[in-house]
Symmetry: C2
Subunit: 547 residues, 2 copies
């Protein structure tokens, strides 16, 4: 059977554009004599529409769009992801469905059985799980249709109590009893720097276990925090993967399931993948919200330099503007490094010193602050003065402010709310400082873009004389290791100490993480590149006793 | 049977304090010869611990706390809510359970069957639903134990497609087949100004339908955004409610199920209830996070005046500090009204004019802003200068900044991110402007606390000369009605227009609501008093095409 895999980038709620892309792919597949074209999960609406799914007019638009797409399927069949209404008298209002379109009409609808409700997923909020299993017939072949998580019945996702199955049902098991010729999976599987490998393992295991070829269609593109990385593929029943589609870009391939022509992707390391994810994350955030230009503060430090370089990769050098905002604590070389970066990248930059505003704030507050030692309040005035300046530029010219906080800082609350925590999008909020270094070297792989001095000097917020991050934090390699164990691996403080870290350091760091939930609550959306990012994939109570 | 209803205020993760309170209530019930004492849902952990439930050390502490509480139950039985580990080989790791404690031990565990996954609820994320139904025997009586949502199988919660049952299972139906003598429900049912009546209706209907008496135990207290209002009660099989516990405060009553002594609560109107909810919300936010003092900006307007009065009710006048921050656009009477309010309340206040900082910002930005007309960028500089000032006071003295944005403003994005949208807690973020007026009159019910001028003058942000809210918004009674239809009732724009509102106004307002998801994403937590508050009970994609 000739099947087209259509790996596209969708825009949530943009039914017109999504339909146009889908119909173009149908026509292309038809011209190339494919019998079936497969799209990804919730292709019609974009993944994930959240509570737009509770709005009648949204669902009606999705239904109309499916009708429109169906009418394009006259000489070819298609499988398209979209919500469908649950017509039973009880249960959630919707199913997360795959529509089988042929002869200009909806011929069959198959629903998702396993609804993920962990990490960033929240599908039980809107969808009823499928409990009936049926195949679809096309040109004499029997097709089993599943959606994304239906694949993942055996994945030990949250395993701190040693459980190895999250679900009580296995859609592959149920469908394989019906003796299909082929398994098809419509996915919306987000990138995290280890997910692509997990995903391949799961697919290979499923193909081998059920001795079934699998057509797997993922989507690409960023939906605010979440980046879909593509990598759609075809697996033979022996678990080999003759066909793999591109990562981080739209792709379209036609396979002959009996005799697939090899088409593979070059392997890249995790830093290159994170780079691609962040660039796509920035680009889609701007494009899908109708903005072209970014502004950010350039401190001369590595974080802002890296974000600036990523933004130039995503938007082009003419669409990124840097603002240098030195204070009396800024070293000369900080300013020089920031200027060097801007010139290396060829972007517009301006210098707006903050000292006059800071002095004025301190003068006006002097009667209230009399006889108090200078401290965090005064440091934060500097950060908030900078935050106000870059937001003024953002408001004036319609630029989006990019936030440069990294995951290590975000974890321990090393940042000023309404100051350097400002921004429309936190580019590095899921990248630990140790990976910030690696990404910076990657940016410089061909020539020095990020000044080597920005990379090599000891990190400092420069909010008081001779301040260093290590004044209040351990070295970043130790800090990041403790944070990874606590956040990604969900290890208890005791377990982390038993791995060989100093008890005092572990307790102090974990306390900092817990005490700063309130700050992260008001942080910008964070581009997710790990298996556990701050944001809606990690929900903690704000007001709680943690220790 | 003599049963004690223990309606307490729990602190999430504070196992020591929660256990102490629970054990004190057990001892008190025992002294008063009760046979059973009933606590509310997840009493041991507090409701809702979110992803703390994924942490092993958290669950271990919950288990140890249950053991400790059990050992206090030597001459009395108790039903206590806590998570329990799911020992099956598959499914979610935990159940949301009621522990039956007697003779110093855990005698039985019953699990919640219906797990809410709508609005603010997200229980399927952590819990496996119960599917087995068994009674508990105590002193010759057969008790059916249910947990919160188990009551709500017939409530049409999200009904835009006309479905009237959200669940496919009815725990009351299943348990009633086993012929219990009494139904017991452990709850964590949050306040919204219509919820208390819904709840009573559901309970009455259940009692009558199953001809069963019901012991219903709710909790009180605020957990960041969510306020639990109590109102625990005992219903006879005929649906009458002889015993009702207090609202918004801890309470403890012993009932004889065969012969209950009447104990009822005075009826209050919805504005009085919202007042109580907000005061409790502020008080618990401070107390449970270990803070005593609030600071806020006083503009002379009604919103900040109301928040200030609520804060004084919650924390006491010695723990609230007002900051007046006039600009050149502030009218004389604004300053006078703010001073009058502070003096009426007897709080400390200071005046810090913002003009010098604003001038300095504009001077430094002049080279960048050359030849641009003054507009939103300049208005926001004023708001952010104020935001920086109050945060400086907050940081210096360890006060929490209270946010004064109301729901109408929050909906249409009428506020400045990192400016007047700053704060640790948004007190009025779920109160429409029309209710802000009603609450202000309620505050003034005995004497003028909020200056009548603050109530009567036309609302204005005072960010440019002669600015009025009505320059860009319809009158608040029209605005709030449109917003209520869109947000609370989930009506489509077309349905709202059909109710008689101007098409142009409806479309403009809804566009403003949708376009400002990005601002609300970074707003402080909002005290929830309605059935649909902004925050985690209403999740919308940030980057989407809405219209």
């Amino acid at each position: 059977m000739k099947i087209a895999l259509a790996q596209l980038n969708y825009h949530i709620g943009n039914f017109e554009d999504n339909a146009r892309k889908i119909i173009e792919a149908i026509q292309k597949a038809e011209q190339q004599q494919a019998e079936l074209v497969v799209f990804s999960e919730l292709a019609v609406t974009g993944y994930y529409p959240h509570d737009l799914l509770e709005r009648k007019e949204f669902i009606e638009q999705a239904e109309q769009t499916i009708e429109k797409i169906a009418s394009a399927c006259t000489n070819i069949a298609a499988l398209v992801g979209a919500p469908s209404i649950n017509t039973d008298s009880d249960g959630k209002q919707l199913f997360n469905s795959a529509f089988f379109l042929k002869d200009g009409q909806v011929q069959a609808i198959r629903h998702k059985s396993l609804l993920p409700t962990y990490d960033i997923f929240d599908e039980y909020r809107h969808f009823e799980p499928n409990k009936q299993f049926e195949l679809i017939e096309l040109n004499g072949k029997k097709l089993a249709v599943t959606i994304c998580e239906d694949l993942w019945d055996e994945q030990p996702t949250h395993n701190v109590f040693g459980k190895n199955k999250l679900y009580t049902c296995s859609p592959f098991e149920e469908l394989s009893k019906l003796k299909p010729d082929l398994m098809i999976n419509l996915s919306a599987s987000p990138f995290s720097h280890n997910q692509a490998n997990w995903r391949k393992n799961v697919l290979v295991n499923k193909a081998i276990h059920y001795q079934l070829p699998i057509v797997y269609v993922n989507q690409i593109g960023a939906q605010t925090e979440i980046v879909f990385d593509g990598g759609s593929c075809f697996l033979k029943a022996d678990g080999s993967i003759p066909v793999e589609l591109a990562y981080f870009q739209e792709d379209f391939q036609i396979i002959d399931t009996d005799n697939p022509k090899a088409h593979t992707q070059a392997q890249t390391d995790y830093i290159a993948k994170i780079h691609e994810a962040l660039v796509l994350g920035i680009r889609d955030y701007f494009q899908k919200s109708g903005f072209k230009d970014a502004v950010l503060g350039l401190s001369g430090g590595i974080d802002s330099a890296l974000v600036c370089a990523l933004a130039v990769d995503a938007l082009g050098k003419d669409h990124v503007r840097g603002i240098l905002m030195p204070s009396k604590y800024s070293s000369d070389h900080s300013v020089a490094d920031a200027v060097q970066l801007a010139e290396n990248l060829g972007i517009q930059y301006d210098t707006v010193p903050i000292q006059n505003m800071v002095n004025e704030f301190e003068k006006q507050l002097a009667p209230l602050f009399e006889n108090t030692p200078s401290g965090v309040a005064e440091e934060n005035i500097q950060a908030r003065t900078r935050g106000t300046l870059v937001m003024a530029v953002s408001n004036k010219f319609g630029h989006i402010l990019l936030n440069t906080t990294n995951k290590s800082e975000c974890a321990v609350g090393y940042g000023t709310l309404y100051g350097d925590m400002n921004g429309g999008l936190a580019v590095l909020g899921d990248v630990y400082k140790t990976d910030v270094y690696k990404l910076s070297h990657y940016i410089n792989r061909e020539q020095e873009i990020i000044p080597i001095n920005s990379i090599q000097k000891p990190p400092s917020a420069e909010l008081r004389p001779d301040q260093k991050d290590t004044d209040s934090l351990p070295d970043y390699d130790i800090l990041d290791d403790i944070l990874f164990n606590y956040i990604e691996l969900n290890k208890s403080p005791q377990e982390i100490i038993e791995k060989g870290f100093e008890q005092e350091t572990v307790k102090k760091i974990i306390k900092m993480v817990n005490r700063n939930e309130y700050k992260r609550f008001q942080a910008p959306p964070i581009l997710r590149v790990s298996s556990k990012a701050f944001g809606f994939g990690r929900k903690m109570p704000l007001v709680a006793k943690y220790d």
